[in-house]
């Protein structure tokens, strides 16, 4: 049965890539996030804000030295895969992701965070109905990106359906969300914002925006960044100049009568890693 063997090979390759990406993401913070935290430290004057950031730097170094996760909330894995035309799109891909998550849960290790939504029964392996979430899109290369998402920041995410005439209220909405969130999402945070599409599409765009590295912002991203930082919430909500390390916006076409806006909040431990799947 050569076809079955092929499926097994894809599944094993995706499993290995998932486990590798999770290990990398959980232990090593991406360079752009480290650089943004260093810039934030240089700007801070309050002793409390500086000591919070110093603890963060010591923590990043300790995680790398001891080869352990940066945060005990190792999150729930969100996985983005690109597949080139030569790779068959089958169940073997999502099954491979689940295998890889189970492997990483034991080996990294990851905290078993996935529970049934109403009974709260823990699956023990970070898998569950529809979990991990896997997003697949066509691409030139077979790559897998993981974005482990902790609850503290995810819980202050938001969605609002605006009137089409209300584009001028988006910055206020985002700033108000962060005012309410205070120190809960572990600031300094990164804000992923989805504008347009449908209600569900805007939420997906907001999370996808977090995949982009921090760097130069558009004028609108900068406007929201300035407004959120003017709140003075600071590192961990204890006051300071940096509440937000960066803002990333993704837009999608939408219904003429709609303007969905979604916010996905990411804590300072903005973990993400991409690996190439070794297949064929």
């Amino acid at each position: 049965m050569p076809e079955l063997q092929e499926q097994e090979r894809i599944r094993a390759a995706v499993a290995q890539a998932t486990a590798d990406a999770l290990r990398e993401a959980e232990i090593h913070l991406p360079p752009d996030v480290k650089a943004a935290l260093k810039s934030a430290y240089a700007a801070e004057e309050s002793p409390v804000a500086r000591s919070e950031l110093e603890a963060i730097f010591e923590n990043i170094e300790t995680a790398e030295r001891r080869n352990v996760p940066i945060c005990q909330d190792t999150g729930v894995p969100v996985v983005y895969i690109t597949i080139p035309p030569a790779v068959p799109y089958t169940d073997a891909i999502t099954e491979g992701v689940r295998d890889g998550v189970r492997q990483a849960t034991k080996e990294v290790p990851l905290r078993p965070n996935v529970v049934s939504p109403c009974t709260r029964e823990n699956s023990g392996d970070n898998c569950g109905a529809g979990m991990p979430a896997v997003h697949i899109s066509p691409g030139d290369t077979f790559t897998l990106t993981v974005l482990p998402k902790g609850a503290g920041s995810e819980n202050v995410s938001a969605l609002r359906m605006f009137l089409p005439s209300e584009t001028g209220k988006i910055a206020q909405f985002i700033t108000e969300c962060m005012l309410r969130a205070g120190g809960k999402p572990c600031p300094p945070v990164i804000l992923g914002i989805g504008i347009g599409s449908t209600a569900d599409g805007a939420a997906a765009l907001a999370k996808e925006a977090l995949l982009e590295p921090l760097g130069e912002m558009t004028a609108f991203e900068q406007e929201i960044y300035n407004a959120v930082n003017a709140l003075g919430i600071g590192p961990m909500g204890l006051g300071g100049k940096t509440t937000c390390l960066g803002v990333r916006i993704r837009k999608g076409g939408c219904h003429t009568a709609s303007l969905p806006v979604a916010l996905n909040v990411q804590c300072w431990a903005a973990r993400r890693a991409t690996v190439e799947v070794q297949y064929p």
Binding site: V48, P69, K184, A230, G232, M236
Partner: protein, 178 residues
């Protein structure tokens, strides 16, 4: 920098919001489920002078691998019975509500540990035991001996609350902007 050692006594009453401290000695983790269980079944450790840490650690083969704080506000309505029983310090992230600030008055403090700093915390912790293990790894009560955990006094025993001050300032800034 003040050095604290559990069990804690009246020395916590002299701490001021904004002070940096280090904490050594036994601490006990507790999240939502553990608080509910303790209300029903009783506190499984000696609460006199104890420090309760809002944390669901990663534990592997009897070792603490990662143990940063979880959001304390979830325990706002679940903390009074601990303070009544003699607990002197709550440790977590993000601050706590007005009720807890009043419950701490003249009795104890809320200490903020930097969110996400799980590797740093674990490097200064030794696992000593566990209660309510059936609640699962994040929700069980883990007994941990810690060495010089770096913390910020966020709510002191006189009712000063750094998080509340920041919230009020942020609200004023928001009202000016919009």
């Amino acid at each position: 920098m003040t050095t604290l050692t559990t069990p804690l006594g009246d020395e916590v009453l002299a701490l001021k919001a904004g002070d940096r401290v280090t904490l050594s000695g036994m601490i006990y983790t507790a999240r939502d489920e553990a608080h509910l269980r303790m209300q029903e079944a009783g506190i499984p450790f000696d609460p006199k002078g104890a420090a309760v840490y809002h944390c669901g650690p990663v534990v592997k083969e009897g070792k603490i691998i990662a143990a940063g704080p979880t959001t304390s506000a979830r325990m706002n309505e679940l903390s009074g019975f601990l303070l009544d029983a003699g607990v002197r310090a709550l440790i977590g992230k993000g601050g706590m509500g007005d009720t807890v600030r009043e419950e701490l008055r003249g009795r104890g403090v809320y200490l903020a540990f930097t969110g996400g700093c799980a590797a740093l915390a674990a490097s200064r912790m030794t696992l000593k035991g566990v209660f309510f293990e059936d609640l699962g790894m994040p929700e069980a009560v883990w007994a941990i001996e810690c060495r010089e955990l770096p913390l910020t006094v966020a709510i002191d025993a006189e009712g000063n609350d750094l998080f509340r001050d920041v919230r009020l300032r942020a609200q004023r800034a928001f009202d000016e902007m919009f």
